[in-house]
């Protein structure tokens, strides 16, 4: 008989052990899934998780894909700490890309060195504006931010689709639903020649650094306290309304920034699909990284690998593209299950003791 026995204190070891365990269980389940599909288990796992890292190009792609995940994940983790559940980062990412990309489109013949900074600012502001809607509705009418932010995602994605099919369509684009290419001055500089690694990496790292500092400051304390003990936060005198605004604006701003960086970087124009679900995957990144900045950085790399591995596996062993989503799902599922071990320990009773 297996029993869950509550622990007297949260296990600090399991706080970090649970994600590792979840990754291990994901590998096992993934391997079995490959086996059921008739693929050799070991080789398939190798193709998925190791092969992408065996080339310089693969590693550089990992970094390219991890940057937006880390950037968004950092922002979300700030809010999740305070129990502010911003599930609509995908929409804030998209709206940031629309606003920032819009500047590049309007000034498409600009060579000004201020174009890119203006786009980045517009992107962050766009993300914040999109997140301000759930923040306002939550603080003013107590509307659930999960639903509002999630539904706004579809609004933003459809808005982008409308723009690139209609008013912002490239006049020289043979009617393809895409905008003009951004001018040189509106493109993220590439850091390493021959790869797609761009300036956005720095923004992700800066975000990690700032989040680390916040964690040691009054703001981080407020976020943590509102999340852990809202009554105590009220008693301390911290305004819950302000925390909610801060959490949503920070999350939205970083997601918007990630959006504009993505369209000004690897993509280079506005197209109907500018994200393979970064905004949603970043939710897993935040939890897998234990809402800790360094953890988010590592988790961002792991989740980026599932994108790369999915692509590699698709090409090499002919499995459907859905395998990426499947692995991400496994990981979240196991992570949530393993988190039980933080508060409980497993007690296995055998034979006589079981009765």
């Amino acid at each position: 008989m297996i029993r869950l026995v509550p622990r007297r204190q949260r296990s600090r070891a399991m706080v970090w052990g649970a994600p590792l365990l979840a990754v291990a269980l994901t590998l096992i389940t993934g391997g079995l899934t490959f086996a059921i599909m008739g693929k050799p288990m070991g080789a398939a796992l190798f193709t998925f998780f190791v092969q992408p890292l065996t080339s310089v190009y693969g590693v550089s792609e990992l970094i390219v894909k991890a940057s937006p995940l880390v950037l968004i994940g950092i922002g979300l983790s700030l809010g999740f700490r305070a129990n502010v559940w911003n599930i609509g980062a995908e929409g804030q990412y998209t709206f940031g890309a629309i606003l920032g990309g819009g500047i590049a489109i309007f000034f498409h013949d600009s060579t000004s060195p201020f174009l890119l900074p203006a786009m980045l600012i517009a992107g962050a502001v766009g993300g914040m504006a999109w997140a301000a809607i759930p923040a306002f509705l939550r603080t003013r009418f107590n509307a659930n931010e999960i639903l509002v932010s999630l539904m706004l995602t579809y609004v933003a994605v459809l808005l982008l689709s409308y723009l690139v099919h209609g008013p912002w369509r490239d006049p020289d684009g043979y009617n393809f639903p895409e905008s003009r290419l951004f001018p040189e001055a509106g493109t993220m500089p590439v850091l390493i020649e021959g790869t797609r690694v761009h300036m956005g990496v720095f923004f992700a790292l800066i975000a990690v650094g700032v989040a680390l500092l916040l964690g040691k400051g009054l703001t981080g304390f407020k976020l943590k306290l509102v999340g852990l003990a809202p009554e105590a936060a009220r008693f301390a005198g911290f305004s819950e309304t302000r925390i909610i605004w801060f959490a949503l604006l920070a999350g939205g701003g970083l997601a918007g920034l990630a959006g504009v960086i993505e369209v000004a970087g690897p993509i280079g124009q506005l197209i109907p699909t500018i994200s393979p679900g970064y905004g949603f995957t970043a939710i897993i990144v935040a939890f897998l990284g234990r809402l800790h900045p360094v953890g988010v950085l590592l988790a961002g790399l792991v989740m980026a690998l599932t994108y790369l591995g999915g692509e590699t596996a698709q090409i090499e062993i002919g499995v459907p593209a859905a395998v990426t989503g499947l692995f991400q799902g496994f990981l979240l599922f196991y992570l949530l299950a393993c988190d039980v071990l933080i508060r409980y320990r497993v007690h296995i009773l055998i034979g006589k003791a079981a009765r």
């Binding site: 007297r8 204190q9 949260r10 500092l213 040691k216 400051g217 009054l218 703001t219 304390f221 943590k224 306290l225 852990l228 003990a229 009554e231 105590a232 009220r234 008693f235 301390a236 005198g237 305004s239």
Partner: protein
Amino acid sequence: MDEHNDKNKPDDGRRAGAPLLEARGLTKAFPGVIANDTVSFIIRPGEVHALLGENGAGKSTLVKMMYGLLRPDEGELFWQGRPVQMDKPSTARALGIGMVFQHLSLFEPLSVLENVALAVPGKWNPKALRKRIIEVSTAYGLPLEPDRIVQSMSVGERQRIEVVRCLLQDPQLLILDEPTSVLTPQEADQLFATLDKLSAEGRSILYISHKLHEVRRLCSGATVLREGRVVAHCDPREETPGSLAELMLGTRIAPPSRASTRRTTPRLRVFNVSATSSRAFGFDLKDISFTLHGGEILGIAGIAGNGQNELMKVLTGETKLDHEADAIRVDGAPVAHFGPIHRRLCGMAFVPEERNDHAAALNLALTDNTFLTGFSKLRLTRGGMIRSRRTLEHTKRVVDTYGVRTAGPRADAGSLSGGNLQKFVVGREIMQAPEVLIVAQPTWGVDAGAALAIRQALIDLAATGSAVLIISQDLDEIFAICDRIAVMSEGRLSPPVPVAQATTEEIGLLMGGVHAPTIPPEPEPEQREAAT
């Protein structure tokens, strides 16, 4: 009733026939602590037996093992001489053990009848059940209306539901955990009469309490626990409160001492405060006015849920009175429009009633909890960053000064026992040297040793010229340490009177909602200075 003179010799009880319940060598260990170490004792039929001990002495663990909520690692339980396995509460109930918990487990939106029905096995038969509830409640002097909704009832009335619920199952042994902590003196007397009746019928009662005079009034036998071990079996009627406390604590403790206070200048003035309660069935505050002087301790008595929480929120600033800044003044300065942070900077400090996740965040370290209320007054931040060394040093001082037993200043608040956490919370506020300290239920659920330390600390603070306000349901506490007393009932506050002129009966009537005070209100000569 002469079989009770068996001081320190539990086994002597056997000559008076088979014990109802016997515990032999019960041992229960949790990671890092042995909660019960070979505990043995006997409860005889018809006996009211006290279980005494500090918080953390292992009383709850012991009771949980007897009620089937925990299983002992070692040792055995005997029911009427036969060994029994208490593997779940239903086993205990089937044997005839009923328990009334300290924290009542009732469904608030349901009626009395429905709550009772949920706990009584068998088919849903409201007619028969209603009849039985009325029978039992009248027979034992526990008046109850079966169709009232629990939410609208006072804590004392709610407790009656739990007692009646137990009695419906005709228990041979009734376990009561700190039952009088929520009762007025009159209600407590009513409960004692019920318990006397039950005992006269031959039922046994296991009575867990910190209130030593109650144990002496009610119980004919007592088992004293200290650090998980039985340190004595005694007859509490032959002991003094002092000797009982000494057995519990292992050391002699002096009662709180205080020199007579000189009332000096008014420090806190509350003038005509009214506020709407945010909770359903909470009482709105109606024209609350009082003045608190430097050097004095004012006690606000009252049964829980009569507006004390609302008053506390208004005083801490969790409820701000935006347009009536003058309604609350500290040393003459209006503060009613400020939130808690600003009020603390004006010299106020607060200890709310609920220590868990209100006064202190359980999942955060003690250092973080020091920071929680002290960061502005003690300047624990610089440039938005937490000054962790300064916070740590201050936490250490609180821990050392108030003898908080903890693994260290970085331990989670949740790892402390209730009494130790309360010492920490009260000490944390006093160490900020407040001009005005407002404390709700300073010794709620706290063992005698910690309660004494806390009361002494409050007295010492008042002696330095600070003003102290205590909102407490514990009348003994108010009579022991306060200079004046006022009573809160249905959102109103009676005029404060000197404790020396008040009697328990009069205060009890005020608590029960009798609004015409039989005590002349004390003249307030400073009333006209309010504007200064």
